[in-house]
Amino acid sequence: MAGGNDTLSTRLSPFQKIYLLLVAGFIVGPFLPVIIQSLAFRWAWPELLPGTWWLEQREKSMLPLAWDYVLSPYSRVWEATVNTVFIGLVVTAICLAICLPVARLLARESFAGKSAFEFFLSLPLIVPEAAIGIALLMIFIRLGLAGSYAGIIIAHLIPTIPYMVRMLTAVYQGLGRDFEEQAMILGARPLQILWRVTLPMLLPGVVAGALFTFLVSTNIFLLTFFLGQGQVITLPTLLFSKISGGNLDTTAAGITLIVTLPGIILLIISERFIKEEAFGKGFGS
């Protein structure tokens, strides 16, 4: 019984305490040297701290150094940020618009071939991205969509649709149709029902789905890199071009931190406003 009681304890075992500390170190620890590197001018091996800091050299140098460079137009950070946010917003809006009716249908109706349809909807998650990316590039080059915003936005829909449909279906399942029927009996028109009844009740789930879609879109590298053809840069592809040589210099470290920033903001927003389970629903089998 003693072992059983231990398992049932709602407190952490000593092993779990150590494990949690290790996980914290593994996840956020590596950011510390990146912060130091972003502020360094010269950080030679094997010094644990830079020998010369950026601020010491700032006045002496003719060229913008470290953060001066990262925040200048030369680094293209601002351009990449605007592109990332713009593409993310458009993808989220389109994805929401085309997934809502499908989620509603999946949650409420049964029709022939429904389970096959659901399986088909989740296929993009399990087909390797490189395969989709290169195959799409061939098509987009013919259509003149390669290297355009439209092409990237369309491509981003493919991996975001499965998550959006799953999350919205879960929301619709939680919401009975009684309220909509009552509104209909009381004489509301379909658009009125959608705007006044369905959407407000769906809102928390819709916000969760939209945030998650935006997040997935802003994190996509491969499809943007392949289909953008270097003409449209986003934060992930900009960082890739800085570190593809296998080095992390001062400006690359600064850009790494900039690329991390939207994720931190989204994390705080989603933790404050979204219930824990809402994200989990995207992953249920």
Binding site: E129, I134, I139, I243, S244
Partner: protein, 295 residues
């Protein structure tokens, strides 16, 4: 079916058109086109020898393809398994009450929120021969030249690639398992404990079967992603022979455009391999579910 019912039905089906056109035309179309091209159909290059299996023949006939395939599957499998173990352990710890839990709920999701390229940057600064680990080892007096530090990145062991995938995907699996754990509650575990089950038995016979659906769907997604990932093996990999997505990309960007068809054969091979493995995985899982009396 009344006329009215039929009308709503048709209306409902119309609403499916946008999503179907994206998925069928783009996603399905891309896969079909890839298959056609890999079989020699590329009239825009003046090549049309369809059906022509020589591209697959020369690809599968080369030794390096099989090395590439092995590396791709090795990185994908090892990192998915590690992320599964670490993620499940983390989820089991997170359902307990402890001071600072709110902070952990932010902290563990951070990698989920940021691109893989950030993870690669972290791997570079930590693990490269002039990186932080090498400096710490030097500080401890074990080495006095960066060249003496064991090479972790850019080898075919792929420790750097695996580290990035595990860093990024442990939170993903944690989230999926944690959501399921919250849903099932602790009653069944308590019942097992009262009946005298030990800790290991409770986990493997009570908890694990219940979180299995979450584990299967999240590991499927991680594995498929790892098989098709490009940026981590491109930067952190050991070079020739590369993983299959990198090989496909190199064929595709070769000045000799006829190699693009070889690249397409590589892409289709990735799809076939991933498909076979994922279906086998699902098949085993379904059999297990049936044996357990579910579905």
């Amino acid at each position: 079916m009344t006329a009215r019912e039929r009308r709503t039905r048709i209306l409902q089906m119309l609403q499916l058109i946008p999503i179907l056109s994206v998925l069928v035309i783009l996603f399905g179309g891309a896969l079909v086109m890839a298959l056609l091209q890999s079989l020699g159909f590329a009239p825009w290059f003046g090549i049309n020898t369809f059906p022509d299996f020589s591209y697959f023949g020369s690809l599968w006939g080369s030794q390096t393809f099989w090395v590439s395939l092995w590396l791709t599957l090795y990185y994908a499998t090892v990192s998915t398994l590690l992320a599964l173990v670490f993620g499940t352990m983390l989820a089991l710890a997170l359902i307990k009450a402890f001071p600072g839990k709110w902070l952990y709920k932010y902290l563990y999701k951070l990698p989920l929120m940021i691109p893989y390229t950030v993870g690669i940057a972290l791997a570079v600064i930590m693990l490269s021969s002039g990186g932080v680990l090498s400096r710490i080892v030097a500080f401890a007096g074990l080495i006095d030249d960066p060249g003496q530090f064991p090479q972790i990145l850019k080898t075919h062991y792929g420790w750097g690639i695996i580290a990035v995938y595990v860093w990024k995907q442990t939170p993903f699996i944690t989230l999926a398992v944690y959501a399921v754990l919250l849903g099932i509650g602790r009653e069944t575990e308590e019942a097992a404990a009262i009946l005298g089950a030990r800790r290991g038995a409770i986990f493997f016979r009570v908890t694990l079967p219940q979180i299995l659906p979450g584990i299967v769907s999240s590991t499927l997604i991680c594995f498929a992603f790892n098989v098709g990932a490009f940026e981590a093996p491109f930067i952190l990999g050991g070079g020739f022979p590369d993983t299959l997505p990198v090989v496909a990309w190199r064929y595709f960007n070769d000045a000799d455009y006829t190699l693009q068809l070889q690249g397409m054969a590589t892409v289709v091979s990735i799809g076939i391999v991933a498909g076979v493995i994922l279906f086998a995985y699902l098949w085993v899982y379904r059999r297990y579910e049936r044996r357990m009396g579910r579905h």
